[in-house]
């Protein structure tokens, strides 16, 4: 699907650019929308023995459209003491970091936006851009709630960036490449003690890394139990306090889109990405099936993330930092060490 369009020699920079922007927008909006409806609206409700939205569309499936319509109608408020330029810019920085991560995501053998050798490195680097947008939002709002929320977010995101990267290093060592396509191929062609029936999804060997990655993802998304930056009982909504209407919607989309993107990233790194375990199909078929397979795996990882989100209460600020520096990072380092030793041994 994507490949057949990509395979054509457009020889036109702008056509390709527009196509890529559209593709990324579709992924971001579809991913964020599915996550909001499936997990935030429905799974959360069922876990609390509620029904959730039921009016718009069958079982409330169109609720999100109604909400977006509502947000778009709202007045776009800017505090009088705010730094207007930065205030307007901040949501777009957060949004851009989410969009850029999609760019390196492989959806099939030829279905990708760009295929760089340092794929996962680029993805993590781009994902950490969002913290700049958050600090900008907090500073430009000229509100103490926003500033405190932004500082908390900065401390948390930097603290949890580290275990996330370290968890990925284990995968990189095992796959022997930073390229996301290479990581997918390494899992698909891998063997478990000489048996290659289902390849070797790295979740089997890198279970510790997977768990650390998911926990760090949770913290990166600033969602419960790591939602100190937006702790509503203390900080209203942290760095989003002064935002309303369209700009709040951008933050909201960015939050759930990055949830989708991180889930897809985890699926690529640990669950074998677009490849179906043990099934070898033609490249042209995989270009169509691959995105769907990745989507299913993304939903699985997303269900795990949101399951934890809806179960646990919030960490205290010091517990949150202690957990990152005293538990996750040593765990990830031990995981890297073990992976290194085993990699050399086998």
């Amino acid at each position: 699907m994507i490949s057949s369009v990509l395979a054509i020699d457009w020889s036109n920079y702008w056509q390709q650019s527009i196509f890529r922007v559209l593709g990324a927008a579709i992924f971001v909006i579809l991913g964020a929308g599915t996550f909001v409806i499936a997990f935030l609206f429905k799974m959360m409700s069922y876990m609390q023995s509620r029904l959730g939205p039921m009016e718009a569309g069958p079982h409330g499936t169109l609720q999100l459209l109604a909400e977006v319509g509502k947000w778009l109608q709202k007045e776009d408020l800017i505090p009088s003491r705010a730094d207007r330029t930065l205030f307007k810019l901040a949501p777009y920085i957060v949004m851009a970091s989410t969009f850029l991560v999609v760019v390196v995501m492989p959806f099939g053998p030829d279905a990708y936006f760009i295929n760089v050798d340092t794929g996962i490195y680029l993805a993590l680097a781009l994902a950490s851009l969002s913290v700049i947008g958050i600090i900008v939002a907090g500073w430009a709002s000229a509100s103490k709630y926003s500033l405190l929320g932004a500082l908390r977010a900065a401390g948390q995101l930097i603290a949890y960036e580290l275990p996330m990267v370290l968890a990925v290093v284990g995968v990189v060592i095992q796959a022997g490449t930073l390229n996301l396509q290479g990581i997918v191929a390494a899992q698909h062609q891998g063997e478990i003690f000489g048996w290659g029936g289902i390849g070797n999804p790295f979740i089997l060997t890198q279970l510790v890394g997977f768990v650390v990655f998911l926990i760090a993802t949770q913290a990166e998304l600033a969602q419960p139990p790591f939602d100190m930056p937006v702790a509503e009982s203390e900080l209203v909504t942290g760095y989003m306090t002064e935002y309303s209407g369209m700009r709040f919607l951008l933050f909201f989309i960015a939050e759930f889109a990055s949830a989708a993107v991180f889930a897809a990233l985890a699926a690529t790194l640990f669950l074998g990405g677009w490849a179906i375990p043990g099934v070898d199909l033609d490249d042209n078929v995989m270009n169509v099936v691959g995105p769907l397979v990745l989507f299913v795996k993304m939903m699985l990882v997303g269900a795990l993330i949101f399951w934890a989100r809806f179960t646990f209460p919030r960490f205290r600020e010091d517990q949150l930092q202690a957990f990152a520096w005293k538990a996750l990072i040593p765990l990830a380092l031990v995981n890297i060490l073990a992976t290194m030793v085993l990699k050399v041994a086998f």
Partner: protein
């Protein structure tokens, strides 16, 4: 205080995850037998889809639904109207003569109620009027189904407020051993 026996670390986390998963499955798949595989959250969830299905009939104690008036007890003292934080009670009255209590006595001067309106579009359901009424004329009723399409229709006049009085439930019994004077709803 005895500390709980040491279990393996993070056990509580897994108990919590298990709990939410169980509730999720109970809500999603409440049916038994062959129909187990069919998701039916509308049956499983505790939620009652109110406008379509009426809620179960449970006595709602101390519910602040609507304020009911017993006109006979009202002396037009205006305490409620003056204590109302958002001035949603409108009272008008006039002095009149009532027959003497005992034969041969003097005619009494009483206040007659001309108008008693509560504007529920303003009312914030604080209940101060009910608390402040010294003559047992105002009561809380648990009824809540009086929404209107026109804002002005939320102004309930005396007759309507008297109708609400039919729905006032008995006061809750006091705790055992209470020496306070038991109040009753003047039917």
């Amino acid at each position: 205080m005895a500390r709980p026996p040491r279990s393996f670390p993070l056990k509580g986390l897994f108990i919590g995850l298990k709990r939410t998963a169980i509730i999720f499955m109970q809500t999603m798949f409440p049916k038994r037998g062959i129909k187990t595989v069919l998701p039916a959250p509308t049956i499983g969830a505790h939620t009652v889809q109110y406008p379509y299905k009426s809620p179960p009939e449970v006595p709602v104690t101390r519910a602040r639904g609507v304020i009911a008036l017993k006109s006979e007890n009202c002396t037009v003292c205006m305490l409620c109207a003056r204590s109302c934080p958002d001035w949603c009670i409108y009272i008008e009255g006039h002095k009149t003569k009532a027959p003497p209590r005992r034969p041969g006595g003097k005619e009494r001067t009483v206040s007659a109620l001309d108008r008693f309106d509560i504007d529920y579009s303003l009312c914030m359901y604080c209940g101060i009027c009910v608390e402040v009424c010294p003559f047992d004329a105002l009561f809380w009723s648990p009824e809540f189904e009086y929404s209107e399409t026109r804002l002005a229709d939320l102004l309930h006049d005396e007759a309507r407020l008297n109708e609400w009085f039919e729905t006032v439930p008995e006061f809750e019994p006091y705790e055992a051993g209470s020496t306070a004077k038991v109040r009753k709803v003047p039917r």
